[in-house]
């Protein structure tokens, strides 16, 4: 078993509009087992397109124009994601790689209980489980993310934003994936709730050993939770380094610009000139 979980090589995506937009250009990156990789960049930098693209979640006019994505399964086999047919891909997603989407309020079905929505995951992906087993798993998941098993019959609107985001994390965790892709999972939450969710993600990562790709434009936050950070700009990774290295010794001018755009909470004043 190698140390690498996902190898992305020369990956490119084009939005086939007029004129075509090269959203991701020849990106190469390895995700290691158990690490948190931060994808930083501004809107339009291609970070979401890259993360969705490797799982083939993009819709036309997006076209994957080149490159390869190999998933090194914990069982020892290597899976070429672009060689899977639709059915194999459906089974692969969620089971091996899961997603936490931005804006939990919009991602959950408002007319189904959270218990039913979690139950769905098992019904589809683990057809062998009976009702009692599924229920036990769902309660277990709600306990793990600290929503509490007693909320199994709650509807999304009965939960706070933070709780709903925890339910989304529970869903992503349900099948014990090896990689979780989180797209701005805390952007809509306020700082106190955000901090709790981040702690929980780190804890779960230690407990279950999955890797995380964490997408956000919030670089200060990323510096605190990531092992490594990839800075994207115009479809390219301009810098990839350990979080601390990126902070103390940024190599690329754009990384320096990005770091400078955030006023320091406790550091020297003067970024906002008054």
């Amino acid at each position: 078993m190698t140390d690498t979980l996902l190898s992305v090589r020369d990956f490119s995506v084009v939005y086939d509009v007029d004129p075509p937009v090269r959203a991701v250009k020849n990106v190469t990156i390895d995700i290691r087992r158990g690490e948190i990789v931060g994808l930083a960049g501004e809107s339009g930098s291609g970070k979401t397109t890259l993360a969705y693209g490797v799982q083939r979640l993009l819709k036309p006019p997006a076209v994957i124009t080149g490159g390869s994505v190999i998933f090194h399964d914990a069982d020892g086999s290597d899976v070429d994601l672009h060689a899977l047919d639709a059915e194999q891909m459906r089974r692969f997603r969620w089971d091996k790689v899961s997603m936490v989407f931005q804006g939990a309020m919009n991602a959950l079905n408002p007319v189904a209980t959270i218990g039913a929505q979690l139950d769905d995951v098992f019904r589809v992906h683990r057809p062998g489980m009976n009702r009692a087993q599924r229920r036990a798993e769902v309660i277990d998941l709600l306990e793990i993310v600290k929503v509490g098993g007693q909320r199994i019959r709650s509807y999304p609107h009965e939960l706070s934003g933070g709780m709903r985001q925890r339910v989304m994390i529970a869903m992503a965790l349900a099948l014990r994936p090896q990689l979780m892709v989180m797209d701005e999972p805390t952007t809509a939450l306020d700082v106190l709730v955000q901090r709790e969710i981040l702690k929980q993600i780190s804890q779960l990562r230690h407990e279950f050993g999955f890797s995380v790709v964490f997408i956000t434009h919030d670089l200060p936050l990323l510096l605190e939770i990531s092992d490594r950070i990839a800075v994207m700009r115009e479809g390219e990774i301009v810098e990839l380094a350990d979080a601390e290295r990126l902070w103390t010794d940024p190599q690329h001018e754009y990384t320096r610009d990005l770091l400078r755009s955030f006023p320091r909470l406790t550091g020297a004043r003067g970024v906002v000139v008054r």
Binding site: E42, S43, G161, D190, V191, L192, V193, Q194, R195, H217, D218, L219, P220, L221, L223, E224, E244, W247, T248, D257, L258, S261, F262, P263, R264, L265, T266, G267, R269, G270, V271, V272, V273, R274
Partner: protein, 270 residues
């Protein structure tokens, strides 16, 4: 000098089934022109209720709001004059501009409605205001909001707010919807305008870092109560209230984070 005063303001909302919610609980503060106050607190702390009362979209249950010592008129010309004195910049520049109208129209409206300048000078004044927010009038005046970037739109919203020459400005999360690289530009613009026009600014945000750099004073709100108020650096660097400390601890601070981590590693090696 213009002074706005909140005196013992309490706001109760009736909540169906569960009685009353105290959104604001005996809040008192003053905002002068030439002064910037940062108002911070988590969701539900009452920040927006203060903004709504300031703009007269809500009325206080108890207490009063005074402008230069006089209560704010509820209607008519008096209310109009008050609103001319106090303007808002909203969070979402994609929602606060009307997609049907040109940029010229947005800036021109308050000039005409409040008769800020004689009719034949309106055009020149629109240009002046757009230049003031560092937009090129010739390039943007005839455009519609969708043709502009988020940062440009927020600049238009600021120009519109300045049109009636207010003494006070309420900016409710004015940069949180903008891309990171342009946030500082817009904040710096607001800071310049504040200084040059002698504006009093209430900067409402949940971002402690920008609040510290942008404001003279910071006021921390928790569950409708002001729990701490003081010079910006004091509140953020030496918070006294437990809630302020909690907020500060939760805010990302890479500088402190790596310093602490380095201290731990050397501590462990010993």
């Amino acid at each position: 000098m213009t002074t706005l005063e909140f005196r013992g303001v309490t706001k109760l909302y009736n909540v169906r089934g569960s009685g009353q919610l105290k959104a604001l609980d005996d809040v008192s503060f003053t905002l002068h022109s030439r002064q910037t106050i940062g108002l911070v607190g988590q969701s539900g702390s009452g920040k927006s209720t203060i903004a709504k009362i300031l703009t007269q979209l809500e009325t206080p249950t108890h207490g009063e709001v005074l402008l230069d010592g006089a209560p704010i008129p509820r209607r008519g010309r008096g209310l109009r004059t008050y609103r001319q004195q106090l303007r808002m910049v909203f969070q979402d520049p994609f929602a606060s501009l009307n997609p049907y109208h040109s940029i010229r129209h947005h800036v021109e409206r308050p000039l005409r409605l409040d008769r800020v300048v004689p009719r034949d000078q309106v055009d020149a004044e629109v240009r002046r205001l757009l230049e003031r927010v560092r937009l090129d009038p010739d390039a943007v005046m005839e455009r519609r909001p969708h043709e502009l970037s988020g940062g440009q739109r927020q600049r238009v919203a600021i120009a519109r707010a300045l049109a009636s020459r207010p003494a006070l400005l309420v900016a409710d999360e004015p940069v949180s919807m903008l891309d990171v690289s342009i946030r500082l530009g817009v904040l710096n613009l607001l800071a310049d305008l504040q200084r040059e026009e002698g504006l009093g600014v209430l900067y409402i945000t949940h971002d402690l870092a920008t609040a510290r750099h942008f404001s003279d004073e910071i006021m921390v709100l928790n569950q409708g109560r002001v729990v701490e108020r003081g010079p910006a650096d004091d509140v953020i660097l030496r918070p006294r209230d437990p809630y302020t400390r909690e907020l500060r601890a939760a805010s990302p601070d890479p500088e402190e984070f790596f310093r602490r981590r380095a201290a731990q590693t050397t501590g462990g090696a010993r």
